[in-house]
């Protein structure tokens, strides 16, 4: 039953399910490594998906859409960064705010921009083209590259050391002359921009459509992947792949008559989530969050 071409197909397909989650998770890792939690990933993805469709459809250029998606992420990053880094607000509440705002705003904006309700499908030209031969998205290559680059930045550069130091012990970092607030702010921006890129993937790369709830919980899956990955970008790559693979595989299973007869369909739908949970639970003993994550840093 398990032939090689099928396996290859599942692997190639899982690049789609992997991308948005990986990008959002990478962003969150960079942000949390500096001590700033952003649970507004879902909201950022949704807002960026909207911005990407709007701009790509207007200029008929998907890359303009990518810019807009990343730009929208940055914008939300500025808001979340100012609230949580400079104003010392509660990071969780700010994140929830982003999510709630996104759900309301996007439903409204779809109507204002396109005068349609609920969803909009952009013109063909707005869609990201595929790479020749392998047929994956150019953004997939970018996502993988970003995971590796981020690993190097975090673990092999002075700047990465500073980021991690700020997230572990901001007082000590401050004493040795690191600009704690600035470092946190920049990390928040990078994190939000990456989540924005993830949202862009959803709306003009994987699909060409925007709906009121396009991310469908992927922002929260990304948060789980961050835990699973132990705040390490390369593990996040692995974690997103495992999730994406199982997600795609469960779609396959649902198509098999044998599986359909044996397992209730809703149960098959839960496979990727349960498996990810099991893996996370299995590794949680080793997972150690940055020590100062989620707490605003106040100078004495």
């Amino acid at each position: 039953m398990l032939d090689l071409t099928l396996l290859l197909d599942v692997v190639l397909k899982s690049t789609w399910a992997l991308m948005p989650i990986l990008l959002a998770a990478l962003g969150e890792i960079f942000s949390e490594r500096s001590g700033v939690v952003n649970i507004g990933l879902e909201g950022i993805m949704l807002l960026s998906a909207l911005a990407a469709v709007a701009v790509a459809d207007y200029f008929l250029n998907p890359w303009a859409g990518v810019l807009a998606g990343v730009g929208m992420g940055l914008l939300i990053g500025v808001v979340h960064g100012v609230i949580s880094v400079y104003l010392k607000g509660d990071q969780v509440i700010s994140g929830i705010g982003v999510n709630l705002f996104a759900y309301g705003f996007v439903a409204y904006a779809i109507e204002v921009i396109w005068h349609v309700r609920g969803y909009y499908t952009p013109r063909y030209e707005a869609k990201m083209p595929r790479l020749p031969v392998i047929g994956v998205s150019p953004l997939f290559i970018l996502s993988i590259a970003l995971a590796i680059v981020m690993y190097f930045i975090l673990y092999k550069t002075d700047y990465g050391l500073k980021v991690r130091a700020v997230g572990e012990n901001p007082e000590a970092a401050d004493v040795v002359g690191i600009h704690v607030e600035r470092t946190q702010f920049i990390s928040t921006l990078v994190g939000a921009a990456l989540a924005g890129l993830g949202g862009t993937v959803l709306s003009i790369d994987w699909l060409a459509a925007i709906t009121k709830e396009l991310p469908a919980g992927r922002g929260f899956i990304a948060l789980a992947i961050v835990n699973f990955a132990n705040w390490n970008p390369t593990y996040a790559l692995g974690g997103s792949f495992v999730f994406g693979f199982l997600w795609t595989l469960s779609e396959y299973l649902k198509n098999l008559e044998v599986a359909k007869a044996l397992i209730p369909i809703p149960l098959i739908n839960t496979i990727p989530y349960i498996a990810t949970l099991a893996i996370t639970a299995g590794l949680i003993g080793r997972a150690r969050p940055p020590r100062h994550v989620g707490k605003p840093y106040k100078k004495e």
Binding site: W16, L67, V70, R117, Y119, L189
Partner: protein
């Protein structure tokens, strides 16, 4: 270089600028590369105007409307809001038909900005304003309607897509989606060249079973007629709100050889239509989607071959008409093909939708004409004998010569065994 800049720390913001510039440059370079696609120009031959479209439906129903004397009716129609080119716009159309044909006064109320917790208050305020009939086009309000029906026994209600039982003043209008799905199932089977057809469904719940079993029944009907074996691929993706997931499900079916995929999955179904478009582009094969609820051909004109339409306007009109004629009765009314409640999409349906799109400024007249032409081109590519055969099945259903099973929790397992 990026890493070096970051390590400077001070100028870290520059990194972002560099990243963004890199993306811009890459994007512009990519955009500059000539693409393989070609522009298709088309001469506009058909003019779709709203008046033409709306009058057409109205003349169609006029014959029925003038048979008995009617009284003046003041009706309230509760819809989410206009502009979805689907359910809500069709409900509005039903109200307009009542105005034109029955001389009724119709007021529309929009519940879009009403939180669920305030549905009762919202409805009660409408009741207090004194309407002969309140037509609720939102099945989520069933509980509130039931409560108010007890509190105001003289107020007549009609609710669509939900069943409120045991109230003499509530008419529950449901649709026989199994009949409409059987029609598109038959169409898909006649059209399929590969011998494999698919259906992507939302959640595995009883209302969706009607779509599944109806579609499968239609396929089996054609298999018995022609003696040709057709493979059915079906899947419940588990959600109505995840188009990306719908796309994966549909792509899988296309890869397994399906050349026509029907969907009954709400927004998830957008992914089905997108998958069909993508797959056609990538492989050059002719594959099509079948839309649901509204005439969805316009979403990706040229890739949606037909739709299973729920005629919400007929349901709304019927509720008002029954009151006007004094024949209003509480209880469940199921509208099938015979009653005009469900059907396979007709060119007029698309014309009406395009008319509404132009009227609401969703599309320019040119765009609407272009979409309409593309839709009609695809439609006309279907051999007329296929249409004749589908219409024959439609006649048989109307005359009651065949009956399509309505699945329940007790029978679904058996029906799935029988129809694969």
């Amino acid at each position: 270089m990026v890493i070096y800049l970051v390590s400077l720390g001070r100028t870290a913001l520059t990194v972002l600028a560099v990243v963004i510039t890199a993306i811009v440059v890459a994007g512009v370079m990519y955009a500059a590369v000539p693409k393989g696609g070609q522009t298709i120009t088309q001469t506009v031959t058909v003019t779709v105007t709203k008046t033409e479209a709306v009058t057409q439906t109205i003349t169609a129903t006029q014959v029925v409307a003038t048979t008995t004397p009617t009284q003046h009716v003041k009706a309230a129609v509760i819809i989410r809001k206009r502009g979805d080119l689907g359910f809500n716009d069709m409900a509005w159309l039903g109200g307009q038909m009542a105005v034109k044909n029955l001389g009724a006064t119709v007021e529309y109320f929009y519940y879009e900005n009403v939180p669920m917790a305030q549905y009762l208050e919202f409805l009660e305020n409408i009741v207090r304003r004194g309407f002969d009939i309140i037509v609720v086009v939102n099945f989520m309000m069933a509980e509130q309607v039931a409560e108010l029906a007890d509190k105001y026994p003289n107020q007549k209600f009609a609710i669509l897509d939900a069943v409120v039982e045991g109230k003499p003043n509530v008419m529950s209008i449901v649709f026989k989606e199994n009949e409409g799905s059987a029609l598109v199932g038959a169409l898909a089977t006649y059209l399929s060249k590969s011998g494999t057809v698919g259906i992507v469904l939302g959640m595995d719940i009883p209302p969706l079973w009607k779509f599944e079993i109806g579609y499968k029944w239609g396929i089996h009907y054609v298999m018995n007629e022609t003696g040709r074996k057709v493979k059915i691929l079906w899947e419940y993706v588990g959600t109505f709100g995840d188009p990306n997931k719908g796309k994966e499900a549909a792509t899988l079916m296309l890869q397994q050889g399906a050349d026509i995929v029907y969907h009954a999955a709400g927004e998830t179904g957008l992914g089905v239509i997108d998958a069909v478009y993508d797959y056609s582009q990538k492989t050059g094969k002719k594959v099509y989607a079948i839309g649901v609820d509204a005439p969805q051909e316009w979403i990706r004109s040229g890739y949606v071959i037909a739709s299973m339409v729920k005629h919400v306007e007929v349901a709304v009109y019927k509720a008002v008409e029954d009151v006007a004629k004094g024949s209003f009765k509480g209880g469940v009314v199921a509208l099938g093909i015979r009653e005009g409640g469900v059907d396979i999409s007709k060119p007029e349906d698309i014309k009406i939708m395009m008319g509404i799109a132009v009227e609401l400024n969703l599309m320019s007249q040119d765009e609407a004409n272009k979409v309409y032409n593309e839709v009609m081109n695809l439609r006309n590519s279907i051999p007329s004998e296929v249409w004749d055969k589908v219409m024959l099945l439609r006649e048989k259903i109307i005359r009651g010569e065949v009956s399509i099973p309505i699945p329940t929790a007790d029978t679904i397992a058996e029906l799935r065994q029988r129809y694969g």
